[in-house]
């Protein structure tokens, strides 16, 4: 996949299925509701190793993804990339090549952007309480707003 040229890039990670779409939804909401000139915002369908090329040359990259950690659905997680990439990815499979593997490979190749911010929206497990769809929708809005704030803060710096 040819890499975008923008210095700041936001990638919604996910697939068309169920709540795996929350990263896409947040990226699309960000692009639709906030004026962010010069910022590349895209929804990526399970990019696997392509994420390395998509991040290449960027000053800062935001990755928005669905997360299951046991927290309440709709909780937002701002994840520490240094800790994420130190948790033991060994690229075990090309079928299950996830964001963690892509970040570890980019780091091994010396291809990490200056800054990578990973945001996760907690989607919860199979036994989610009723009404969690609305909760997730609100979380998507909150995440888009937070990312827009972070981008604007860098633009003003």
């Amino acid at each position: 996949m040819s890499a975008p040229l923008a210095a700041w890039r936001v990638f919604g990670i996910g697939s068309p299925f169920g709540e795996d779409r929350v990263g896409w939804a947040a990226a699309r909401l960000l692009a639709a509701q906030f004026s962010l000139p010069g910022v590349c915002v895209e929804a990526l369908d399970r990019p696997g190793v392509d994420l390395v090329a998509r991040m290449q040359g960027a000053r800062a990259v935001w990755l928005l993804d669905a997360v299951r950690s046991g927290a309440v659905p709709g909780a937002l997680h701002r994840l520490d990339v240094a800790r994420l990439t130190g948790t033991g990815s060994q690229v075990r499979s090309t079928h299950g090549f996830g964001v963690l593997d892509a970040l570890a490979l980019a780091q091994a190749l010396g291809a990490m952007p200056g800054e990578v911010i990973v945001w996760g929206i907690e989607i919860g497990g199979a036994g989610r309480p009723r009404g969690s769809g609305r909760v997730l929708q609100r979380a998507i809005g909150r995440l888009a707003e937070r990312v827009a704030q972070e981008i604007r803060a860098r633009a003003c710096a």
């Binding site: 996949m1 392509d50 090309t94 490979l105 291809a111």
Partner: protein
């Protein structure tokens, strides 16, 4: 960059130890979950079983009752790495029933679609899964640190393959562009031109990849096995051809069941497919051994100059065959896009009719055979899918037996595990497709 030391076989175990049991929790870098059980008595391998315990996925039953038009989208879900193969075998089988001939544009674009999948799948396997074994790295990340330029080239090739799939499939993972009769959408000329330029530039990368793989310290071994692949009258086989072998087999895909039989192994959820009761090899090495003369001349010439001769009966030359096929697919894809024109309609219109049809195409890992039976409304009555990994499973066991015996069955468990993993990875088994990591259990008495 200094090369790390290759893993050395550890000292032989002490014969006085009558029984040892070892469990290795995970075999990395194969697709799926499985285990290898090894029984060694007095230094001789007594039992060797590649156990696949991934639950059956029941795709064939899931297809029953579905319209023929739904089949390409359903089978694309079987595998994220080789969805094109599943779609193409299904399309050919069903079009055979419907008496549908989609014409030359669709035929060319299906070959292009397949080129994309070979480039993507082979590049991933060479760089992320297999090469670290031969260079003595524990994983692809460590290899990437030592050989970043090699890994970047591999990822660029893989990305090019993905983009070719996306051109026709709408997306590279589980593409949705293929339909019975052709494609839902014909690409515009601008993205085709851009990809044509990238293919031209990638030809040199593919040649460099072939030369680099030929320089790897591949184990030296020669084994006896039957190679089975498609063979086409005048092209390197992808979508069409007769099923042939180096032992005289030559049959139409419709006759597959007369020669090949799937058997249940009590220790595996994947069926073992045998040819007249014996293991056989499918995949890039079998294809190249049987079809070297069908390579584009520039690809054959570069492969010859690399110093590895085909046919080869060294299973470890599979990685070389993959590299040659990446080169082949890039040259073919560029040629296919040279003549590109946007068609009036990118598909032939199907109408349902009952019957039985067969499709056999060359997935990256080997021949993928499909059989469908449709009713008069075009609904699937029965489906049967024989993936390459189930065809290679008995051959992998045979190879393991040979290689571990050559290494010395009384080698340490760690040495046995390392060699066993390298042997298995060499086949790029997709256990997900066949029904996924290896637990190694060694019992010594």
């Amino acid at each position: 960059m200094s090369r790390p030391r290759r893993p050395q076989p550890a000292r032989r175990g002490r014969r006085a130890m009558r029984e040892i049991s070892v469990k290795v929790p995970l075999l990395a870098r194969v697709e799926g979950e499985g285990a290898l059980a090894l029984k060694v008595r007095d230094g001789v391998i007594e039992t060797l079983q590649l156990r696949i315990f991934e639950p059956p996925r029941l795709f064939e039953k899931l297809l029953e009752g579905r319209s023929f038009e739904e089949v390409p989208d359903i089978v694309a879900r079987i595998c994220g790495i080789c969805p094109v193969a599943y779609q193409m075998s299904a399309c050919h089988a069903i079009e055979g029933i419907l008496g549908l001939a989609p014409g030359p544009w669709v035929r060319r674009m299906r070959r292009l679609f397949y080129c994309g999948e070979w480039i993507e799948s082979h590049s991933l396997h060479i760089h992320l899964l297999a090469a670290p074994d031969f260079l003595g790295y524990p994983n692809a990340l460590e290899m990437a640190k030592a050989h970043p330029e090699i890994m970047r080239r591999g990822l660029a090739l893989q990305g090019l393959g993905n983009d070719l799939i996306g051109l026709l499939g709408g997306r590279s993972v589980h593409p949705v562009g293929a339909r019975i009769g052709g494609f839902y959408h014909a690409p515009e000329e601008a993205p085709v031109r851009a990809l044509r330029e990238r293919l031209e530039a990638a030809t040199e990368d593919a040649k460099a990849l072939v030369s680099w793989v030929a320089s790897l310290p591949l184990p030296s071994t020669e084994q006896v096995f039957e190679c089975v692949s498609l063979r086409h009258a005048d092209e390197y086989p992808m979508n069409e051809g007769r099923i042939v072998s180096d032992q005289g087999l030559d049959l139409a895909p419709a006759d597959f069941e007369a020669e090949f039989e799937e058997r249940q192994a009590s220790y595996s959820t994947a069926l073992h497919c045998l040819h007249r009761g014996k293991p056989y090899l499918v995949g890039p090495l079998a294809r190249l051994n049987l079809n070297f003369d069908r390579l584009p001349p520039s690809v054959a010439e570069h492969a010859r100059a690399s110093g590895i001769a085909f046919p080869s009966y060294n299973p470890f030359h599979s990685i070389m065959a993959r590299a040659v096929e990446v080169h082949c697919a890039i040259v073919e894809a560029a040629a296919l896009l040279d003549r590109y024109e946007v068609p009036a309609q990118p598909f032939a219109v199907p109408s349902p009719r009952p019957g039985v049809g067969f499709g056999c195409t060359e997935a990256p890992r080997g021949i993928l055979w499909h059989r469908y039976e449709l009713d008069s409304g075009g609904r699937v009555l029965r489906a049967r899918i024989v993936p390459p990994t189930s065809q290679n499973q008995a051959r992998i066991e045979e190879d393991l037996r040979t290689e571990l015996a050559a290494l010395g069955a009384d080698s340490t468990d760690e040495a046995l595990r390392l060699r066993a993993e390298a042997v298995i990875r060499n086949y790029d088994p997709c256990i997900s497709c066949a029904t996924h990591f290896l637990n190694l259990e060694v019992a010594r008495t």
